[in-house]
Amino acid sequence: MRAAVSTPSITSTDHRIAWMAALAVALSMAESVFPSPIPGVKPGLANIIVLLVLHQDGLRAAVWVSGLRVIAGSLFFGSFLTPTFFLSLSGASCSLLMLTLTWRLPRPWFGPITHSLLSSLAHVAGQLFVVYLWLIPHRGIMYLVPILAVAAVVFGLVNGLIAARLLQAPSPAPASRAELAGIPATSRTG
């Protein structure tokens, strides 16, 4: 049993993906506390995590984190295989598709803000597609499109800025740990 757990197939990348997916689930649970004026208008803070993973670990890891977030999140919410789950799944798939496309844009010119804006719009588009095809096949939902699109742009911009800010922050963990470890040494010498 122990040997099975510690097989070499579990890499540090796997651990990182699991951590980031857990963070994403935690963020989406945290934001679900706040009531939303219209169903579907949410900040989508978990997408910040997906953006971070995309920039730091690449596309494959981002797909994993996003997929795990959808499935594990729906298990936590108790919405697995319900309409909510499929909405979330279609939104995440479209958003990932958009990320794979925008990821090919020249990186020095297009940053996380571009990725975030376009993928949040794709997210809304994917959800609306499922809503229209399956849940509410009525042209009336077209009246909601502008509201959802404006919300997607606003939150996409904010999430992109947060992701850009986090990506530019110097990674503090190793340095501060070294410093903390170094404190007794310096106090001894001083």
């Binding site: 844009l105 020249p106 020095p108 010119w109 297009f110 940053g111 996380p112 803000i113 571009t114 804006l117 376009l118 719009l121 009336g140 939902i141 077209m142 009246y143 909601l144 499109v145 502008p146 699109a149 404006v150 742009v153 996409g156 911009l157 992109g160 800025l161 850009a164 800010r165 530019q168 922050a169 503090p172 501060s176 410093e179 404190i183 310096t186 106090s187 001083g190």
Partner: protein, 147 residues
């Protein structure tokens, strides 16, 4: 030495949270292409709003008497029409892409007081005389919109 340790602990946090005025945000986080994306996205969302929320001026007036369509007038042509109901004649006027009920024998004059109509879906009802006027879109006629 202890003081320097405190500084190293607190300073990075303070400087990174306080450095958030708009100029720094714009300078540090936006790449040239990001501006392009933002502009394109804003334009397309504006276009979406304009096209999907267009309660445009209608171009057709549907006149009904006792529930039956008695006449369909164009809003583009000025004219006056008289429709006879159980109480008498209701006079309808189309002028400058608008329509109104000029006079009606109904006691409370509700449809006359309704004034000019020009948007798709607007309606004036003269119930006692069983006459109604509705502005519609010639391309796709919509009875009512509920959402």
């Amino acid at each position: 030495m202890a003081k320097r340790y405190e500084e190293t602990l607190i300073n990075p946090v303070c400087s990174s949270t306080l450095q958030f005025p708009l100029a720094i945000v714009v300078q540090r986080f936006f790449k040239p292409g990001d501006w392009l994306t933002l502009a394109l996205v804003c334009c397309s969302v504006g276009w979406l709003c304009a096209t999907l929320w267009r309660h445009g001026a209608g171009d057709l007036v549907i006149v009904r008497s006792k529930g039956q369509v008695v006449s369909e007038l164009s809003l583009q042509r000025n004219r006056t029409l008289s429709v006879t109901g159980p109480l008498g004649a209701t006079v309808i006027e189309v002028k400058d892409q608008r329509v109104r009920i000029v006079s009606d024998p109904s006691p409370r004059q509700i449809c006359v007081h309704h004034g000019w109509l020009k948007h798709v879906g607007e309606m004036a009802l003269c119930l006692p005389n069983q006459v109604s006027v509705e502005v519609a879109d010639a391309r796709g006629r919509v009875d009512s919109v509920n959402y």
